[in-house]
């Protein structure tokens, strides 16, 4: 069963100074699964995501991709392994064109490093139409700085889509988006799952996460405190209640430290 995982973290830890941001977490994602990653501020969600995407190397623990351990894990390796992350800050370079942003770090080039400008432009154009960019005001050569928040999210998602990732990580994808744009993101998640690909969905909004995920992983102060399938949780309210219990436990622990 374990070999089913696309990617698996085993006993992974990461600390910044004295803070154990991620403290011995083991966690895996199966094909076609939508995992909702939830937890309060400072629970370690962002650090966990940055370990998965290779931005922060873990201090200890193993990273296993399709049953094989990968060493010297970094952002380029993570993308090679089929993991695309749509970051909370969108990870865009605002002064660069839409095309350059879509292909940032993974340009279409020949073996001498010369970029196939025309191919990239056409692919970017096709992708933008696919995700519903129809405005004639901008084209793939427009700088990202000229786009709205939702459109920028679209560029970040188009990038994940283009590389046909097996696992797409969405970090707070609905933050600062309008209702219409949020609905679009949900449609996108549905679409990706229908294609048999996996998603990790991180959100503050428990209702959003409940609607979309098959399985929930709850983090608290760097540890996984609960893993539960959706069919074991009757409603978003029940999930909410669990979260509150975890928060109260945290308070109780803190109280003990004070005493």
């Amino acid at each position: 069963m374990k070999d089913d995982y696309i990617i698996e973290l085993r006993n992974v830890s990461k600390s910044f100074g004295n803070v154990n941001a991620v403290d011995g977490i083991s966690f895996g994602v199966r094909p076609g699964e939508v995992v909702g990653l939830i937890g309060d501020n400072g629970a370690g969600k962002s650090t966990l995501i940055k370990i998965l995407s290779g931005v922060h190397p873990p201090d200890s623990g193993q990273i296993i991709v399709r049953g094989r351990e990968v060493r010297n894990w970094n952002a380029a390796r993570s993308r090679e392994a089929g993991i695309e992350t749509v970051y909370q800050d969108r990870a865009l370079a605002p002064q660069q064109t839409i095309t350059r942003n879509i292909f940032m770090g993974r340009e279409i080039k020949n073996r001498f490093g010369v970029i196939k400008v025309k191919t990239q432009y056409e692919e970017a154009n096709r992708l933008m139409r696919e995700i519903g960019f129809t405005s004639k005001v901008f084209d793939p050569d427009s700088p990202v700085a000229t786009l709205s928040g939702g459109e920028r999210q679209g560029v970040a998602i188009a990038r994940a889509l283009y590389f046909d990732a097996d696992l797409i990580v969405l970090d707070e994808p609905t933050t600062a988006l309008s209702l219409v744009e949020t609905a679009k993101v949900f449609g996108f998640v549905q679409n990706v799952r229908d294609r048999g690909r996996s998603i990790i969905f991180i959100g503050h909004n428990i209702y959003h996460v409940y609607d979309i995920a098959d399985r929930f992983v709850v983090l608290d102060r760097g540890k996984v405190v609960m893993t539960v399938a959706k069919d074991e949780i009757a409603s978003a309210e029940v999930l909410m209640k669990h979260m509150q219990e975890i928060a109260e436990m945290a308070h109780a622990d803190a109280g003990m430290l004070d005493a």
């Binding site: 380029a76 970051y87 660069q96 770090g105 490093g113």
Partner: protein
Amino acid sequence: MGLGAKPGGQQQKAREDASALVKWARNNRRAITSTLFLIVMLIGFTLANTDVFTQFKTYRSVMIALPISMFLVVPLVFVVTAGEIDLSFPSVVGLASYAFASIVDHGGDPLVGIAAALTVGAALGYLNAILVVRIGLSALVATLGMNFFLRGLINIIVEGFSIAIPEIRDTFIHNLLTDDPIKIVDHLGIPNQMLWALAFTALGVFLYNRHSFGVRVHCVGDNPESAAEMGIDVKRTRTMVFIFTGVGAALAGIFSVMINFVWWPTTGDGLLLPVLAGIFVGGTPAWGGIGTVFGGAIGTTIVAFIETGVIAAGLTGFFTQFFYGLIIILSLIFQRFNGGRVR
């Protein structure tokens, strides 16, 4: 049907051509602005002194030393686009060309001298990168310190003596790379060094816009966090631009010694401000992420013509700095219309 469709198709084609032109202009507006500025400035100089500025030899005389600046400005545009700065290049020019001159002076093959100079330039560029990228010092302060440090090193090594290498005259490599200024009267082509500088600029334009190195330099300067998240090795990219500048400085130094037949302990010193001005006058903004290599070459050309123009216009040398400042500020105001600062 066929007759009716044809003019429509032509119209459509014309419209597409027009919009392609508009798009090209929009994508290259910074380089276009500096080119227009150069043309306007040259027209102004020509009106002030028609005799001088309608003669080719005026332009030719500027093209003798201009290449030295061009070998510097091209890599420096990469550095500034990457969000860094390198103020050590005048002393890197000095030290790298010292390696070249002393090898030739001791009877070594000029090609060995060139290889040695390029190695010294690349190594000093890497040293800058260690200070800025690995240790994390401010590029402005660290490279300024390096500029003093390396010039001091030169002074300690040579104790004020210069190196003359007249023996390089009429060697194959000298004739290939430069034109003898003595032959200027009976030779009216573009100096060879200018052709090499143009080739170097063309290579720079290509790397900057069409090669993954240049594109990554843009992304790193624009938003280093995003670039890292997308798997670009930010430190490696930054290291490369410093090494590139070291190599450009070595080339500038080699050409300087070849053109003058002399290496001075001060070689490269006078280049700091004019070359820096050339970057920004050319349309590369100081905040990183965008820029233009072609514009940088135009910018250094603008700066190179200022002195000639001021003197030819009948003003005394006392006016040179005044016009340097005036033209730099005016050109930056023009570039302002291509978008304000983003940070």
